[in-house]
Symmetry: C2
């Protein structure tokens, strides 16, 4: 088994050590350190390198070095029948939960207003009572492995959670809604909405004026899905008229986010450079090892994705 | 039983309703709406009103409308043998835990650096890996009911916790240290230190240069105790040389914090106007009802405080 790694993040010592420990008899090569026309079995990449003209005919699968697969599903260089398996990394799921938790606590404490009061040197109690976790409604969009972990984690921490997916789901302690007619009821009155949907034609622009208008006043929008989920002009309008409290954005339609983009300087936006959930050496190694074992045994690949299938 | 309420926060409808529901046969009077020389049994106050010359001889106890009692213990108008019972309010404890959790998540995500990068329009990954809860060391100073709740809550959320108290304690999942020699080991290498000590002679200035120098680089200091716990000049020096990451301050030596104080405008300080843990109607009513029952039955008052005894 020969595996080609084509992701700079995976070139670090810690990733290499974890991969070699998990798959000691595997031949790992970094792209493009391989001979012209070299054959290999598995390609590990988040997106295909620009300079890669085609994948070799020997290729048996692509391992997506990340949770979102749209950038591979939409790549014309990849044959439609080539299996794509995506990363399943518990460490990444935990980071995304921590990011969501941070945003939820910021909403609980009305962080934007708190900082504005400090800036204005205002000593005041805007409310006689602080909000409690049980009073703060959260909504999670997307119930893939990551959304599921975030929904369960928020619920375990004591926040009421509703969640939305394409198909029906049941999760203890989470109000699950699905399908077109379920989206509105899922987000109605939510104080925080956390998006972890995959990027698909039907989810484009789902963070829209229609959705924002259903949230509670002062709600926070947390985008951990893809940049194209967000209607940017609707966000700006909802922030500027004070309807939304803040937006926490980790993903963008163009990455890196261009320096001239208004997101950078908006006082109600907190942005991070697509780093809310980074793959971990242990998680990547375990996930690749599971895919390799399935390939060798002719089993269905864990984390297998087809266009429109992942949720 | 006649109870005089002398705290503006307690004058709201929600507090009055909760009190009347918990103690239906009690006569509640707001200070100063009572006749000259009127007798009463229990005074509810966070501090004695300035205009109050003396407490009546009929007074059997003072109920401190807050967790910290120094402002009453140090008041010469209160006879030394008059029992003081302090608020024991689970809702307040939960708010303080939430405040600490928010600060801990902010440290986990290096919030000050994240915001600085955004301000500079820098798209970069400072680290290849995000920190995990299990790697973030927290230290809680003070193991009264509030410190205990915070220590347990941080530990339950997956953060390693050490805690410090005057006398030895044992708490599942928390590394407990005590006494003068225990303070250093408690805070050594901590990423966040949360102060919930009472204000006493021996705890004054405990958030000192000596303590800061033992923390991990970039640590956050969270002061939920009293303003006099903090050596302000040591804090400024440690923040400005970049040793401390941030300070989250809810309590101050002078309250309201004067508008000219440097805390307001320091970019590494997040301040709140002594509101991290507000008394709740249900918690106050239950706590006062417990004190009233103990008074009527001649039992030791719950939450009884004597100078230097509370921890």
């Amino acid at each position: 088994m020969r595996i080609v790694i084509a992701d700079p993040l995976a070139y670090s010592d810690s990733f290499e050590r974890a991969l070699r420990a998990a798959l000691p008899s595997t031949d790992f090569v970094r792209w493009p350190d391989l001979a012209d026309g070299a054959e290999y079995d598995l390609l590990v990449a988040w997106h295909l390198p620009k300079e890669m003209i085609a994948v070799p005919r020997s290729l048996r699968a692509i391992f997506c070095f990340g949770a979102g697969t749209d950038q591979l599903l939409n790549d014309p260089r990849i044959p439609a029948d080539l299996p794509i398996a995506r990363l399943q990394d518990q460490g990444q799921a935990e980071q995304l939960l921590d990011y969501a938790m941070h945003a939820v606590f910021a909403r609980l404490h009305d962080d934007v207003a708190t900082r504005a009061d400090q800036h204005a040197r205002l000593w005041r109690l805007p409310h006689r009572q602080n909000r409690t976790r049980g009073s703060l409604r959260t909504a999670v969009l997307g119930l893939g492995p990551l959304g599921l972990h975030v929904a369960r984690g928020l619920s375990a921490a004591g926040f009421p959670v509703s969640a939305w997916s394409r198909n029906p789901r049941r999760i203890d302690g989470v109000a699950c809604l699905h399908g077109d007619e379920g989206l509105g009821p899922c987000v109605d009155g939510a104080d925080v909405v956390v998006n972890l949907l995959p990027s698909r034609h039907e989810t484009k622009g789902i963070l829209s004026d229609w959705l924002f208008s259903r949230l509670a006043p002062g709600a926070y929008v947390v985008n951990l899905g893809r940049g194209d989920h967000l209607d940017e002009e609707a966000l700006r309008a909802a922030l500027d008229r004070g309807w939304l409290g803040a937006a926490w954005l980790d993903v963008f339609s163009v990455e890196p986010l261009p320096p001239e983009h208004w997101f950078w300087r908006h006082e109600r936006i907190r942005l991070t450079p697509h780093r809310a959930g980074l793959p971990t050496p242990q998680g990547v190694a375990a996930s690749i090892a599971a895919v390799v074992a399935a390939l060798e045994q002719g089993r269905r690949l864990p984390g297998l994705v087809r266009s429109g299938e992942a949720d």
